[in-house]
Symmetry: C2
Subunit: 372 residues, 2 copies
């Protein structure tokens, strides 16, 4: 059989990421069934947790393949949107799993975007204290970010991803063909995380992106596989160095995210897409980096150009430091009340910076209310 | 400083268990504050989750010690009883933790019995994907069983411990003095797990118990420390061999428990104490072992004598196989629908036995409706 595109190196928790493209006739150069069998091992019951939006397409295909492998499938549909990452939705899933005879030999298969992956991943991590788990991300954002690295979780009112666990999947299966039907706004949102990898640790990839946002916007399969592979490789490298966010290295993945979480929380979850908030957050972080004299103003120009070419938003008119700062103070990266940010040194290199003065943070937020 | 009574050997997740007795003047031969500092490291915020029943005694003492170490304490009180191991109670704890500024540097301290330990442990495991955690068990049952080994979790309607995670504490602190005010029924219930260790893997300890149930019932501190130490050593040995219940070895700790869970579930959680159900379950398991010709009838006689001396119940008049079997079929030890039990070979040795005929299980249940 074929070799996986990427192997995430985490010792006994290592797993493959397959990045492939289904053909027009539905065939795929890599076989899902044998990849599943190879990574998961024996399985006679799967809990397929999927986003309502892809119930009739990808989720249905995956269900048919699993059924063809003589696997009993329990189907759990989750409403689209961030509000599904709730205690109530998780409780519904736990009860459905119990009612359908899910046991420690069962396998959870998440089909959908980051919401479903995070929610299903935490259900897998916690039901009977841990089930095997497979990720089939169907959005660009989840392909390049949330499906890789083992972070699972749900939101609390007033705190995003406040509850969850580190739980690695058995495999991640990415078929770029599923992106052909992804709405433009969602696709563009995912591009924010792709561009983020260029800024935080892959300058060569950032250069490639300068020339290829056009082909990506057209969903060219070769360009997509390249961008997704480079993004996943970048994330896998960082995660392998710091699986549980203990050394500080993994925090670089949160470039732009401290601001983004505050934008999402004050705008109300779901108003602003995650990637849109990340793009604006990256702009705030770059401005803060310049203000802190960590990077040259040209970095902001370069970043602005690529985000703009990808059609991402760069400003948020309602940005209100008085609302955002208290949210940032609750961020998981906060060490006992001190604000810390990932800030750029140059394209391809960022640092975790502690003790950032609040007035500079306020200035960075206010500067992103409009294009100057 | 003094050496811990037991070191649970789990590689980088190893931790000490202190087993000590406070003196009449409140002093203790081992210092809690320095043990805490030694195991936990730096800490400026603790979330003290405690059982309402010991709010004014042990929880209050622990809070004062922590405050004396300049640790800010958030106090969360949990109603006594198994019904607190619910999604609703967990959600309340998560929200209180968020509202009180709990972050990744915070430490969860569980003070109470198994309910509080399991619930607080899962809250620690899941809040911001994992906080440090200290167990201060205050009942005999939690001292010898639930506080050791890292199993945390809550119940679902119809499924005990169905949700949770493996999450090891930084240390376990056992003060036998707290047992002096434990109600008799709770103390006796805890004795079931103590006796269990003798049956499953420590024949010498079983012999010691034959002669010492009297001193234990009188809560003699020396006898208590010995019994708790032997029990925790037994559990620590088994857990070190099979932390996440993957090899099957850890399952021996569930001797009597498949029956016990079914007794608790059909009686309604909280009607029958856990240890009471375990004692009856051990009797059912011994009868099943004899029926399967795995052990001699004398094993049941010996076990009966020790359980009886500890004043534990040996029969359950309402035992109904029709209600209990469906619950057992959902047990986490079930491998795809086949009933499996831990059955005794001789005192000090048990095995996991698969494919047990349902009619023998029914016979074992019916035989424990009354003393023959």
């Amino acid at each position: 059989m074929a070799s996986p595109s990427i192997e995430v190196a985490l010792g006994e928790r290592s797993y493959p990421i397959w990045i492939t493209t289904s053909q027009a006739d539905g065939s795929n150069p890599v076989d899902f069934a044998s990849s599943f069998q190879d990574s998961v091992g024996s399985c006679s019951h799967a809990v397929l947790i999927h986003d309502a939006a892809i119930a009739d397409t990808v989720a249905n295909q995956v269900e048919r393949v699993l059924a063809g492998m003589n696997i009993r499938v329990t189907n759990i549909q989750v409403p689209s949107g961030e509000t599904s990452k709730s205690v109530a939705q998780l409780e519904t899933i736990w009860n459905t799993m119990l009612g359908s005879g899910t046991d420690r030999q069962s396998v959870v298969v998440a089909v959908g975007g980051g919401v479903v992956g995070d929610l299903a991943g935490f259900a897998a991590a916690s039901f009977t204290r841990g089930l095997r788990f497979v990720q089939v991300p169907t959005t660009l954002l989840s392909m390049v970010d949330s499906s890789v690295g083992g972070k699972t979780g749900i939101n609390l009112p007033g705190g995003k991803n406040m509850v969850g666990s580190f739980w690695q999947p058995q495999m991640v299966w990415i078929d770029t063909q599923t992106l052909s039907t992804l709405p433009d706004r969602d696709f563009i949102s995912g591009m924010a995380e792709v561009i983020k990898y260029g800024v935080i640790e892959d300058a060569e990839f950032f250069s490639w992106l300068k020339d290829n946002t056009g082909s990506l916007a057209e969903r060219n399969p070769d360009a997509l596989r390249h961008a997704i592979t480079r993004s996943c490789e970048s994330k896998a490298r960082v995660v392998a160095e710091d699986e549980r966010e203990t050394s500080g290295r993994r925090a670089i993945l949160n470039y732009g995210h401290t601001f983004a979480h505050a934008i999402e929380a004050t705008a109300g979850y779901g108003v602003c897409l995650h990637g849109e908030a990340v793009a604006i957050g990256m702009q705030m972080a770059a401005r803060l980096g310049i203000d802190m004299e960590l990077c040259p103003p040209s970095l902001l120009e370069e970043q602005t150009a690529v985000l703009e070419a990808a059609k991402l938003p760069l400003v948020w008119k309602e940005a209100d430091p008085d609302q955002m700062l208290p949210v940032m103070a609750r961020d998981k990266k906060v060490a006992h009340g001190k604000l810390r940010f990932i800030l750029p040194n140059r394209i391809g290199d960022v640092s975790l910076v502690g003790d950032v003065p609040a007035e500079k943070v306020i200035r960075a937020i206010e500067a992103c209310r409009s294009m100057n």
